[in-house]
Point group: C2
Chain length 487, copies 2
């Protein structure tokens, strides 16, 4: 792994943790939830409320086209064609660049404005062959997925005893036993946010106490022998050791073996390696605004995926409702006062690499980013919008979302953090929103070979495209800029 990649990863760890926690906060019930609130009382000027209500016929038109008209089924059909053609699309892969070319050509063919790619240097991690074999107390094969960014093992692999721990504190209390061993984290899944620190930092903490490899329990509430990958980090001055995910079933199994006092040995083989950075691209497409083309409302999803499954859910759904929102508005001839821009981020999975590059390249345009939206938590049955905004912005969001009553997706939840890539901006006060859907099974599929079209539904995608197009259009067309408030 190059220094640049290490640097980016370190930079993004803290941000990742915050984001991951938020992306899942709906299903938490342990009191660790980031507090959300929705303004209980709104005192928007009547004129503004009336103006928002006046968009109801336009929104109905958008919904009708998406759910029961010319655009019905299009999002799912296009997503299907896309994943069937390109498969998974990890940063650095030719699959991803082919997919990017395709989305650029498609957006041009749709008549969208200012379609182009913007270069981004991205990490190029490749998995290669990998296996984990239980050698003691008896011989059996364990399903694994190496973690993104991990180093590999030597060809003969690492054969070592296993130490199973539940938490980092547990590891510290057993630090003397960890030397020379493979540490297995059998962390609980209370929430994604609480568990993902073992994926991000497991190898670092295990290495600090002398372990030779790190295996985590896959981060999911449910498994059919399903390993889940994801990014892991290394730290300066801490020896890099290989890291991989095992299944929930096997983590429980190894825990039981240890509890029974058995000696456990695993042979871990991984060919994973990080090749030199390659050039990828964020994709931009627009419907230029008629009055304030320099001001933009952004809809987005990421075009890269992990190198397993085909990324139909993460983030094919978000990608295609963002494409679909613009294609639908274009097909309906709906051009707003401000520009509606779609961004298809590259290399989100490897550390928001495309988004960071975009932030750097467009640093002087941030004031014109009126409202930024991202869908990266699944495109299941829509509930509404999670948003990051001040009090007045929240009230506007509530009023706008009421327009989505025909598809029963009027929900709003204020969140201290929304989205994944767009968090770079919302953390700095740019208003933003994340698609909110009934995503309680999101982590069943997430970062696994099960991330395929089976997680998607044509009906839900139609509704989400309608929601995405409606919110973007209305916020881009309002007489006032969406307010950027400090409270």
């Amino acid at each position: 792994m190059g220094n640049r990649l290490s640097f980016i990863i370190l930079l993004t760890v803290a941000l990742t943790l915050v984001m991951c926690d938020v992306s899942n906060d709906k299903i938490e019930d342990d009191g660790h939830l980031i507090k959300k609130k929705t303004p209980s009382e709104c005192n928007l000027p009547n004129e503004l409320k009336t103006e928002i209500v006046s968009y109801s016929s336009t929104v109905e038109k958008i919904i009708k086209a998406a759910v029961n008209g010319s655009f019905k089924g299009v999002t799912y059909q296009e997503l299907t064609l896309f994943v069937d053609t390109f498969g998974n699309r990890i940063a650095g892969s030719q699959n991803l660049e082919n997919a990017i070319d395709y989305m650029i050509n498609k957006s041009i063919a749709d008549g969208l404005d200012n379609v182009h790619g913007e270069d981004v240097q991205v990490p190029h991690w490749v998995r290669g062959f990998e296996s984990a074999t239980l050698i003691e107390p008896h011989n059996s094969s364990l399903s694994i997925l190496g973690l993104g960014g991990s180093i590999g093992t030597s060809p003969e692999g690492i054969l070592a005893e296993v130490l199973v721990v539940k938490t980092f504190d547990d590891l510290q209390s057993k630090a003397e036993q960890a030397k020379g061993k493979i540490v297995v984290y059998n962390e609980d899944f209370v929430s994604y946010g609480s568990a993902v620190i073992y994926r991000s930092n497991g190898a670092i903490e295990a290495s600090k106490v002398g372990a030779v490899a790190s295996l985590i329990r896959s981060i999911s509430p449910f498994s059919l022998n399903t390993p889940h990958t994801g990014m892991q980090s290394y730290a300066e001055n801490v020896t890099k050791i290989p890291g991989a995910a095992i299944t929930i079933e096997d983590a429980h199994f190894l825990q039981r073996l240890q509890d029974e006092g058995k000696t456990i040995k695993i042979l871990l083989k991984m060919e994973a390696q990080t090749l030199p950075d390659t050039t990828s691209r964020n994709v931009v497409a627009e419907i230029k605004g008629t009055e304030h083309p320099e001001k933009v409302v952004i809809v987005s999803g990421h075009i890269d995926s992990w190198d397993v499954g085909n990324g139909a859910m993460d983030d094919g759904g978000g990608l295609f409702i963002s494409w679909g929102a613009l294609a639908l508005l274009k097909s309906l001839g709906l051009t707003a006062k401000r520009t509606v821009r779609a961004i298809f981020w590259t290399a989100e999975e490897l550390g928001f690499v495309g988004a960071y590059q975009y932030a750097t390249d467009h640093a002087n345009e941030t004031d014109n980013f009126i409202f930024m939206m991202e869908s990266d938590n699944g495109t299941f049955n829509p509930i509404g919008l999670q948003y990051s905004a001040g009090t007045t912005g929240g009230c506007i969001t509530q009023e706008v979302m009421k327009l989505l009553a025909p598809i029963n997706a009027t929900g709003t939840q204020q969140s201290s953090s929304v989205g994944s890539d767009i968090e770079i901006w919302t953390a700095e006060g740019v208003p933003g929103g994340s698609l909110d859907t009934e995503n309680d099974k999101y982590y069943w599929y997430h970062h696994s070979n099960a991330d395929t079209l089976e997680a998607e539904s044509t009906e839900y995608l139609d509704k989400n495209t309608a929601l995405w197009a409606s919110v973007a259009y209305v916020l881009a067309d309002l007489s006032i800029d969406f307010p950027r408030e400090t409270t």
Copy 2:
């Protein structure tokens, strides 16, 4: 595959289909359901009803011990130790024979009577390495599991174009296109019974039209990229071709590629082979009856499993509630008038091989088989008993099951077919029963690497052990033999 195995498989195909259909009939709603009925009016003699009701205190004692007393948690603990120690247990494997030794020793240690193994010659099929790779329209790996009994490919594999069909009729209509191709059955999952014919006969029918291999969509209503194995058949005078299961996701994917007019090529490699038959054993353990030791009520499950996952569900649960029923009765000092016998069948998965041998070896004892029970459809939250009996027998079953009210498992359903192994006898009129549980997720795990302890629950196993022990004890202790009726 030896002739003997072929013969056994052919013999059992029809039976398999009937059984499979029944094992799933609860979740069918397509009108193909085998009709079940429960006597709407019962006119049992008051004396008999009173006698059955008089067992309520004994049944309460059994339930209390299992659910909240000395036996609480024991079934799950023992099942856990068993699967953690032996893993999966396919017929022919040393794992299975070690597991059989263990259950014999355990039953002896529990003080059970007449504990012994009875030799059975069983097939010895081994999977070896296997892979399926999509070569056209692009390169990707497909998750597969070879089907039991399948032949392998040559080391270089079979590289051929693919023909996807939905049904056997569909195959017939495309017979001319099938020659030299790999046939993929993308059969619907309406029920296990309607789908399993593609697993059993897919290779035969594909071979008849000149195909070189057969791939079926895994038989399950839900998948996380989960292939499911199971037995397949060959027929005399039909060229044997390799057969394997792909995932639901990939079957849908290949269907789409074909529908889009794409040429599909797959490279299939399988090392599967059938070795010479080996000797395995059915295990028998008893609590001898005090008055009619020659008359027996049988509880059973099968000790073998597929060679994937660890068979905790199929049929570890059935095995251990059958062991647990006897161990619990023994620990409570409950000895019935008739013998309560546990049988742990071997080689069920490869064609009820152990049960057929038992039927042969004990042909002259069938009149003394008063009631035969098997649990091979999962040990989830218990509902009650599916039974095969005449009118009076049905009424007795209803009365007995009322005793299970404390665990809310009083349900009864008459079925033309119950169990798997015991079907050999119930088809001949021996009364029998199958454990009925909330098993709507049974096929999520069935015959896959996901068949592990995660499908089991200590609470449900306790309840099922209580149910199993209670029904066996009461029917073995009644003043009358359970009636063997023709209507």
